[in-house]
Amino acid sequence: MPATRFWRPELATAYGKKGSEMPQVTLTVNGKQHTVEVEGRTLLVEVLREKLGLTGTHVGCDTSQCGACVVHVNNEAVKSCTMLALQADGTAVTTIEGLAAADGTLHPMQEMFREHHALQCGFCTPGMVMTAIDLVQSHPEGLSEKDIREGLEGNLCRCTGYHNIVKAIAAAHPLMHAKAAE
């Protein structure tokens, strides 16, 4: 039950399709459309952090292991360090900055992380929350503790020992699905 998919061929776009020397990609991030110039090797996380200033998405490793960089691409959790910006052309990306409501009301997952002390240093937190939301969304039938622990396979946390993260996700599940049913 991998929460993240590393290779999404259907998202890939031909290099330089717009005919300019530096290819451009257009993507909608947290509801706002952006067109940015990228190199072929530019990663999605680099676009988010460096070009769009969305520094909530973090980079914790260089081997796609830690999950600090997880964002949603077309509503699914993706490690943004492992996706080329070109592959994200035409997609809708949600980052940690885009979760709370306009009035600042936290997403139920954010709220449960706070409620259950599921974060300490906060560095893995954005990726952890984005993974957790995808995990809950894709399992309306419910999640056992074991399911949650296995679902977090792609995310490392060094501070919490995961105990409270697991509790927060379990607590968010009914809240998110109740909200979805509204």
Binding site: G60, Q65, L119, C121, F123
Partner: protein, 793 residues
């Protein structure tokens, strides 16, 4: 507003920021005109540098500068300093070879910086670093702790014979040998404490800037102690006076010790920013973290306990070899000495102890303090030894512990290894843990597991640690080149709200919440009107930072002291305003009262008077309500407790499953129980990681084999299961809060509990001891090797 003071499980105030992507970590900071540094690192464990050919790199697109160790030497840049000097048993000071910021002449470990490329983008700097051609002559290397002392071993540093940094002792060898000679029984155990890589989730980052008009430097860095970095880098490396150097450690993504030290990259970017008059940023890739962050542990020891026929401990004799790596990191020498050997009494009344520690250089990354630092090594040794004593003598492992516990009426208790414990109640933490873990019911669970084809085991560890580091005069006499007090500035604003400036640093511990709760408690100011500022040398008077579970015990005590001064001054102002004598003024719940009357003034009345001193005792008192205190602890603090691990092993694979973990800790006064629980849970999982998964491995030639998350097994969510965490507290008797510290207990108490459980699960296979990590393949091999013998029986 509910209860927000000491003891309240207040939700963390930093969380909304972190949960909505508004944290401000060092790599999130970008300065106008910023350049990017990429370090060219040695890929050789040990080699002579014949030449660094950097012309192609210097000419590459975007490159602004390429610097080598020779360039730093030209600017008379000093080496990285070591903050602690140990003396060997013969009185000679430890070998302290130079630690160049960028290697000069030789490289001594994979990852040693050889050059730095500075370019207009990180990608260009990376590309150019690839073009640097370093001409090396390889030298023989030594990587493992035991190999370092072998005759003929390659020498890591010229003139450091036998790679010996120091040969240190504590205790009287003749006395201890005498006890052993007469003892009815001696139990001996050889063991290793595996080398670990701390792996805070945020890789290290450093961003240097120099204002060309003023010559003022700023360094943003991922540090647990910005003032210490300012002191070490300013005074010893770059020779920048402290008034010209600001060090900022903003939000920091975990530390666990690895972000205490002054690292080369901090000096490189600050120095380069001064030369280029542009900001220079370096961000570590995780691969660089593996080969440049200080590693932890790495001891090889022999332990012997002398005991009488009833299992009473008579004496302990230990030899340990500790790996320092290639250079001395900032606090490395004190870890296997004063943070290790002084803990060898543990919770027991062992009357005489002798320990010899030999610290050796190897061609590996420097080793320094990692969560627990020395105390996990002492605890693992002691708690494994106690279980082996039970194994060898047939005595019960719980009874043998109880029999040797320091009784709760024996405090203050002077150990034979320098420390004097102030408080504790080991029988109680043991009893509660046994109950919480249902120790009594274990054999039925073992039988049930056996029926399912699983090997179930239970293990216990009754541990003690010394933290709240540390009395300055004491550590000074032991070789520390710094004082270890803490500093707090409490600023009551004109309208009665409060800002706390603390010299401690929060990198996950939740100080913005916990420290504010102290103000709620002492000054009666609501939490919403208290702000905590940390991590900036331009704002905070001074500070020694956060490590050794010291923030509350030492930093919190400094706050109490500063608030005492606020109250004392407030009483004088209140006495003036209410025309009473100072002695008659009481302060409670934000209110100054003339004792026995209904005449009162709130703290806000007083602060307003202090800042608008129209009706004010201006002849006797300065205006303002702003006090600073330096608190130097009187002693270490001594948390302790009992950890119990329960595991199941699949005999077909050898894989260990953690099925239950119970911790009952004594951490003194708890300010925020939610945060304490979280600290213990996190520490326990790091300890489980050490026991079952993590291992920093070098091949015999000095190459780091476990150099990424593909090869270094970090604990993941599904490697552990539920755990029960509780506290049974006795108060620290020598600081005003009674707090002992909770940051390290989890990582200290848990590894031996886990290994004791694994050994217990394997007891039918004739296992007496097992070194960490207890991986599936290791256990599978043990089971396979025992099969023929078991079949024959």
């Amino acid at each position: 507003m509910g209860f927000e003071g000491i003891g309240a499980a207040v939700k963390r105030r930093e969380d909304v920021r972190f949960l909505s992507g508004r944290g401000n970590y060092t790599d999130d900071i970008n300065r106008p005109g910023q350049l990017y540094a990429v370090i060219k690192r040695s890929d050789r464990p040990h080699a002579t540098i014949n030449a660094v050919k950097a012309d192609a790199a210097a000419a590459a697109p975007g490159v602004v500068a390429v610097y080598t160790g020779a360039d730093m030497a030209k600017d008379e840049i000093g080496g990285l300093p070591c903050g602690w000097q140990i003396h060997s048993k013969d009185g000679s000071p430890m070998a302290e070879p130079p630690h160049p910021v960028i290697a000069v002449g030789k490289v001594r470990h994979v990852g040693d910086p050889v050059a730095v490329v500075i370019a207009t983008s990180k990608q260009e700097a990376k590309n150019a670093a690839e073009l640097i051609d370093v001409d090396y002559t390889d030298l023989p290397a030594v990587a493992t702790t035991l190999d370092a002392m072998k005759p003929g071993a390659p020498e890591v540093h010229d003139g450091v014979a036998g790679n010996m940094c120091y040969d240190w002792v504590i205790g009287d060898k003749d006395v201890v040998d005498g006890v052993f000679a007469k003892a009815p029984k001696v139990v001996k155990l050889d063991l290793t404490n595996n080398r670990l890589i701390p792996n805070a989730m945020e890789p290290r980052v450093a961003l240097g800037e120099c204002d060309p008009s003023s010559g003022d430097y700023t360094l943003w860095t991922t540090s647990q102690n910005p003032h210490v970095i300012r002191l070490l880098m300013g005074a010893f490396v770059l020779h920048i006076p402290e008034n010209k150097l600001r060090v900022v450690a903003p939000d920091v993504g975990g530390g666990f010790g690895s972000k205490i030290y002054h690292y080369a990259e901090e000096a490189i970017v600050t120095w380069a920013a001064g030369k280029l008059k542009k900001p220079v940023k370096w961000t570590a890739d995780r691969s660089e973290s593996f080969m440049s962050d200080a590693h932890g542990r790495d001891h090889v020891s022999t332990a012997e306990m002398a005991l009488d026929n009833d299992g009473k401990f008579l004496g302990l004799r230990i030899t340990t070899i500790a790996n320092m790596g290639a250079y001395l990191s900032t606090f490395a020498p004190c870890v296997p000495t004063y943070l290790y050997a002084t803990l060898l009494a543990g919770v027991y009344t062992t009357p005489v102890i002798y320990c010899n520690v030999k610290a050796v250089f190897t061609n590996t990354v420097p080793v320094d303090a990692y969560r627990g630092a020395g105390r996990p090594e002492a605890t693992f040794l002691l708690e494994r030894l106690v279980d082996v004593i039970a194994h060898d003598t047939g005595l019960d492992r719980v009874e043998i512990r109880k029999k040797n516990f320091i009784p709760k009426d024996a405090f203050p208790y002077q150990t034979p290894v320098a420390l004097q414990y102030d408080s504790g109640d080991y029988q109680t933490t043991l009893a509660v843990a046994l109950k919480n873990a249902d120790w009594a019911g274990f054999e039925s669970r073992r039988a049930a597991a056996k029926a399912r084809g699983k090997l179930r085991g239970i293990g216990i560890s009754t541990y003690l640690e010394a933290c709240g580091i540390a009395p300055s005069a004491v550590v000074g006499s032991l070789g520390a080149r710094a004082g270890l007090y803490e500093v707090a500035n409490i600023r009551v604003h004109p309208t009665g709200s409060v800002t706390v400036f603390t010299g401690t640093h929060s990198h996950g511990q939740g100080h913005e919440t916990t420290l504010a709760q102290l103000v709620v408690d002492q000054l009666g100011v609501p939490l919403s009107q208290v702000e905590v500022v940390h991590g900036d040398t331009s704002k905070i008077p001074f500070g020694m930072g956060t490590y050794g579970s010291r923030s509350l015990a030492v930093g919190g005590s400094a706050m109490v002291k500063a608030m005492d001064k606020i109250i004392a001054k407030g009483k004088k102002i209140a006495a003036h305003l209410m025309e009473a004598s100072v002695e008659d003024i009481e302060f409670k719940d934000n209110t100054f009262r003339v004792a026995g009357t209904d005449k009162t003034k709130t703290l806000t009345d007083i602060s307003l008077a202090a800042y608008v001193p129209h009706n004010y005792p201006i002849e006797e008192l300065e205006p303002g309500l702003d006090e600073t205190a330096f608190y130097d602890p009187k002693n270490f603090t001594f948390p302790g407790g009992c950890h119990i691990a329960e595991v199941e092993i699949d005999p077909d694979t050898g894989v260990v499953e953690m099925v239950n973990f119970t911790a009952v800790d004594d951490v003194g006064r708890v300010v925020n129980p939610m945060i304490v629980e979280g600290q213990v849970q996190g520490g326990v999982v790091q300890g489980i990681g050490q026991a079952l998964l993590e291992n920093a491995v070098y091949d015999s030639g000095g190459n780091l084999i476990s150099g990424s998350y593909m090869d270094y097994a970090m604990p993941r969510a599904n490697d552990i299961s539920n755990m029960s965490v509780a506290t049974e507290n006795t108060m620290c008797t020598h600081n005003p809060l009674g707090s002992k510290g909770c940051g390290e207990v989890g990582a200290i108490g848990s590894p031996p509990a886990v290994i004791n459980a694994v050994v217990d699960a394997l007891k039918d296979y004739g296992v007496r001891h097992l070194d960490m990590p207890a991986t599936g393949p290791k256990i599978w091999s043990i089971i396979q090797a025992a099969k023929p013998r078991m079949a024959a029986e």
